[in-house]
C-alpha cells in the first residue's frame, strides 16, 4: 500500500515509512523555508539542512501527538514543529555570541546540550500553566512570536498578554522546583 493525500496522516501515525517519504516529498520545500526564516540570519546554510533533518525526525517520532485529521491542520502542526525546532537550534547557536534573552530565559543555566532533558524541563514548566497561559508561553518563548501578534491570534489585548506573561513567570518562579535563579 502506498501513501496518498488521503491516507498519509494515518499511515505516518502507524509508523509506515512510505508516509515519511511522502511528507518529505510534499512538505520539505515549505518547511525548509520556515526554518530559513529563523536560521537564515546566522548565515550558515548547513545549519538549515541539519535543522530540516531534525524537524522531520521529530515529526516522525511524534506523529501520534498530532490531533487533527486533515491536511491543513497537519500543515499547521508541522510548521509549528519546524519553527519550534529552528528556534531551539538558533538559541543553541547564538548562546556564546549574543544573548537573545527571550529565548534562553526559560531554560536553566546549565541546560545540557542533549535536548531530551531540556524538552522534559520545558514540558514540566508548561504543565504548570493553564491553557491560555500555556499557549502564550509557547508562542512567546518557543516560537518567537511578538506579544502583539499573540494578542491578535488569541483575541486578547496586548496588555492582557503582557500581564499573563508576567503572572505566568511569577507562578513558575514561585514554584521552587522550577526556579532557576536569575533566569526567570
Amino acid at each position: 500500500m502506498k501513501s496518498t493525500n488521503r491516507n498519509f496522516i494515518r499511515r505516518l501515525q502507524s509508523g509506515k515509512e512510505d508516509a515519511l517519504e511522502y511528507i518529505v516529498d510534499r512538505y520539505m520545500p515549505l518547511l525548509k523555508n520556515v526554518v530559513r526564516h529563523v536560521l537564515g540570519p546566522i548565515g550558515r546554510e548547513e545549519l538549515i539542512g541539519e535543522c530540516v533533518n531534525d524537524v522531520f525526525l521529530s515529526i516522525w517520532q511524534n506523529a501520534r501527538k498530532f490531533r487533527g485529521s486533515d491536511a491543513d491542520s497537519f500543515k499547521n502542526w508541522i510548521c509549528a514543529v519546524a519553527k519550534y525546532k529552528a528556534i531551539d537550534i538558533y538559541r543553541k547557536e547564538v548562546k556564546n555570541t549574543e544573548i537573545p534573552a527571550e529565548f534562553v530565559e526559560l531554560l536553566p543555566p546549565d541546560a545540557p546540550t542533549g535536548e531530551v532533558l531540556a524538552e522534559d524541563r520545558v514540558n514540566q514548566l508548561l504543565n504548570q500553566l493553564d491553557k491560555v497561559d500555556r499557549q502564550i508561553f509557547i508562542m512567546r518563548y518557543l516560537l518567537g512570536f511578538h506579544p502583539a501578534e499573540i494578542a491578535e491570534v488569541l483575541d486578547l489585548s496586548k496588555s492582557a498578554v503582557d500581564n499573563r506573561i508576567y503572572r505566568g513567570k511569577k507562578k513558575l518562579r514561585d514554584d521552587r522546583r522550577f526556579s532557576y535563579e536569575g533566569h526567570l
Binding site: 501515525q13 515549505l30 533533518n53 490531533r67 516560537l143
Partner: protein, 357 residues
Amino acid sequence: MKDIYDYLNDVQIDVDRYDEEAVSDTDKKRLIRSLQQKMIKQPPSRWKKSIMAASISAGLLSASLFGLSFTSFAQELPVIGLVYKLFSSDRFVDGFNENANVLSLSQEENGVKMVINEAVFDGKTLYITYDLFSKKDLGESPQILGLPNLPEGLHEFIVSGNHDIKKVNGTHYAGITQATLYTDHRVEKGSFNFIISGIQPDEGIDPIKVNWNFQFDLHATDNQEQLVDLKSDKNDVTVTVKRIVYTPMSFLIFYNEVITTELLREWDFISIDIIVKDDLGHIYENEHNGGFGLTHVRHTSTFEKLHPDATRLIVTPILKLAQKDGTNENGNIYRNIGSTAPKEEIILDDIVIEIEK
C-alpha cells in the same frame, strides 16, 4: 504527561507567509536516507505483546505457520493505529459509538481501577474500550494480562486478541481490546467474560496482580453477508475470496490461500497479504485477524468502513516469501528487520467483486 508536540496542535501559524523553496529530488532522497539511519524502529516489546496475546492459539499452529502469522502480525497489524483512531474518531471505528453498548462496569484492586466503557460485537470480533486509573505510574504503554472469552461457546472460542493501551495524562490510561472468535459462522449473541489477572506496566515497574472478572451479554450488530467465491492463482498459490461481511463499522473479508508443499518446503516464511481498494480509488486500511491451516489456510481481515458510493471492490493478493536468518534457542526460526536473506514478492491478478447492496 502532555508535551510540546501536543501543545503545538493549539498554536495557529500563519502558514501563508512561507514560500515553497526549490528542493531537488537528490536533496529529498538524501534527507530520507539520513532519516532512515536515525529512525528508531518499533521496539521489539511490541512484538512480544502481540504474540503473548496470540499464543492462546498456539496449539492450532504448526511451527512453520507460527512463523507465518508472526510476520503478518509484525508487519501488517495497525494495532497501535486502532486505538489512536478511536481517540481521533477516525473512519475505522466510524459507527462504533452508535453501535456500541454502554457498559460502565468497574472494578478496583491494588491501587488500580478499571472502568469498561463500551463494547461492540460484530458476530466475529469483539471490541472493548476502557479506562484505567492507577495510583502509581504504569509507564507509557502498560498491558493488561487476560483476554475476553465466551465460556458457553463450545466451538466459538477467542482465538486472537490484542490490547492497546495509551496514556491519557498522569496515571490515567485508555485502552481498547480487540478479540476475534475462531468461527466460520456468525455468532448472534454471547455472554462474554473478560478475566484479568494483572497489569503489566512498562519494563522496570513491578507488575500489579488483580483478580477481575467482567461479564456482559452482547448481541451482534446487523450485518450483511455476500458470497463471493472468486479466485486468483499464479504458479504455486491460489487465493480465493470466499465471502464478505459488511458490518456498520467495518467489513470483513474471508479468504483462503492454497499453496503447494513444494513452496512450503522451499521458503521459511510464507504470507499472503491482500490490498483492497474500491472503484473510487479509495484504499482500505486493514487488520489481519489471523489464518489457520498449513497448505490450505483460511484467513479473515477486517477493513475500515465501506465507502457508501463504492460499487466494486478490487482485491490484490500479494504473496510474500522470505528465508530465515537463523533458529533461536527455543527452536523457532526468525528473521531480523532489515535482513539480507532472500525474499520475494509475487503480485497476483486482481479479484474484482461487484458489491451487493
